[in-house]
Symmetry: C2
Subunit: 333 residues, 2 copies
């Protein structure tokens, strides 16, 4: 009798251990996501396309996932972070350009009035970008970006910009890669502004970054070949440009696309039009407390047509406030 009980105890212990091991072997891949519809539908899709023998199985080589960056992998308020870089560059370069003291948008900027500087709209922004993002080699530009991203801080949160990435999206990227997806950034931001840090921050290598670009020109400097960045737009990777950029860089249609604004709508439409299963994901900024709340009326990251189309077509929409347990990761410092 005694032996029987001890036998049962051992069996129970084994069962407990087995359960524990099973749980340990499969930890929650998306711990910062609230349980519920959004998280469940992401996991259901990934399981559907990765289960061999299933009608919706997609070969690993075809598991292409594309992510917008601004407002989707990291924040974008009160303005695109790349603009902070441009502004810091204007300040650093100002001593070399005394004429900026009286010329807009530089004059306002140097007086600290960013709003007035950007009042000129796209032409003003274009001038800021061209005067700070061109006129050097690609290698020199990469160093400028690298140094800036390591030290610059967001004016409202005081955080490093790379600490204003979304923890749930980092988990989603890792979860997709663990399921043999190849993850790409497809952003309206500058391709060479992103590449110096995307591998360290998102695990996405330079060759998987698609973005807007200036014209570059091969040249010889002291017998060494360099690529010069010219003040001329080559490609705008936004709206209709996103499927064009995807086709140019990737050459396959994504089966998973994630964005947060009307600028991502064509990428999601293009993804939805694939022949096999596909997953379209919009991030809706609904969290004024932990982040920012904005959509149809926002000047940055407007989500209007996209929100309507997502609802009509049944695409998955993340409600940041409801679906995310945490927004930002624990800061590095």
């Amino acid at each position: 009798m005694k032996q029987d009980i001890s036998g049962q105890l051992v069996a129970a212990l084994f069962l407990l251990l087995a359960t524990f091991c099973a749980a340990a072997a499969e930890p929650d891949p998306l711990p910062s996501w609230q349980e519920g519809g959004t998280k469940s539908s992401i996991i259901a899709f990934v399981e559907r396309v990765t289960q061999q023998g299933s009608a919706d199985y997609v070969a690993a080589t075809e598991r292409i996932a594309t992510f917008d960056n601004d407002g989707n992998l990291w924040a974008e308020q009160p303005m695109y972070f790349q603009l902070f870089f441009a502004i810091d560059r204007v300040r650093a370069l100002a001593p070399q350009y005394p004429e900026w003291e009286t010329r807009e948008p530089f004059a306002s900027l140097l007086k600290g009035d960013v709003t007035a500087a950007l009042a000129g709209g796209m032409p003003a922004i274009n001038e800021l970008i061209m005067s700070t993002h061109a006129g050097m080699t690609t290698d020199e530009f990469a160093v400028l970006v690298h140094d800036w991203i390591e030290s610059a801080r967001h004016p409202e949160t005081g955080r490093l910009f790379t600490d204003m990435v979304y923890q749930p999206m980092l988990e989603l990227l890792a979860y997709l890669r663990a399921n043999d997806f190849k993850t790409f950034i497809v952003s309206g931001g500058g391709i060479e502004f992103m590449r110096p840090w995307t591998e360290a921050v998102y695990g996405i290598p330079p060759e998987q970054v698609v973005g807007s670009s200036v014209v570059t020109k091969f040249d010889m400097r002291d017998g060494k070949p360099v690529l010069l960045r010219l003040p001329e737009i080559r490609f705008i990777d936004d709206k209709e440009g996103k499927p064009v950029g995807i086709n140019s860089h990737i050459g396959r249609r994504p089966i998973f696309a994630s964005g947060n604004s009307d600028g991502d709508l064509q990428m999601l439409q293009y993804t939805a039009a694939g022949q096999g299963p596909s997953f379209m994901l919009y991030l809706h900024h609904t969290d004024a407390e932990r982040e920012w709340a904005y959509d149809r009326e926002s000047h940055v990251g407007r989500l209007d047509k996209g929100l309507d189309e997502a609802r009509t077509r049944g695409w998955t929409v993340i409600d940041m406030q409801r679906d995310w347990k945490t927004v930002f990761p624990v800061p590095r410092d």
Copy 2:
């Protein structure tokens, strides 16, 4: 005594087995390459950059290898294979364009006189390409290429074009990948002409193919998004264009670059100018018997300045006749 001998026998057998296993575990990665300088220098470089702790160690993520395609991974005589595709398309499309019967370069082509058709030089070739490579969606074009590459045959050898790839280069690609290199094609050929078959033939996926391109435009057809190929050159991935294309698509400098013509020179110079170790490889077509022999005077794949620079700078030059045991793989049919 007897036991001693049997002990020695067992030891000898173990030694034999160990030797056999070691040999079996490390088969020759480049069996179609003759032993000697070229093969040895390739292997020495790969061992040098992959050996952890060595001064020349390169992290796996930085092991970028770029290969020209025409005349480097597959043959290119008597003319670029993509031109055979264009010619076959002209024939297929001719009934829709009765005016081609009297208009060059189409008229000569339709009479079977390719030489006369191409006598118009680049403008004639450009017209042939634009009239056959544009005016359809990217998906439609991929199907045309796919169907052609599965059936068209080289006029001199009667082989499928994909059976005119170089066996030693297939081995080199696989050897590099086995050592955690990421292999890319960087070709003057059309990016969308290559992508439909490079994964099956070379093990290089679409997103690792860089090439020349036409402008594509996002459009809606019956509510479905498509990309239209327009008859307008977007980018020529040749000569100075190769480093530009590499930077645009890959965003890192290769440490290994392989080409066969002056069109690859800037890619090799760009690779050589990297900060760490680098390997520059030229394929010299010296084998009139098994393939073709051509270099400084050839209209296709001219290797003149590149050959001089390779010799001056000590880059590795493959002598096809001397260095390769076999040229083409055993045909599939």
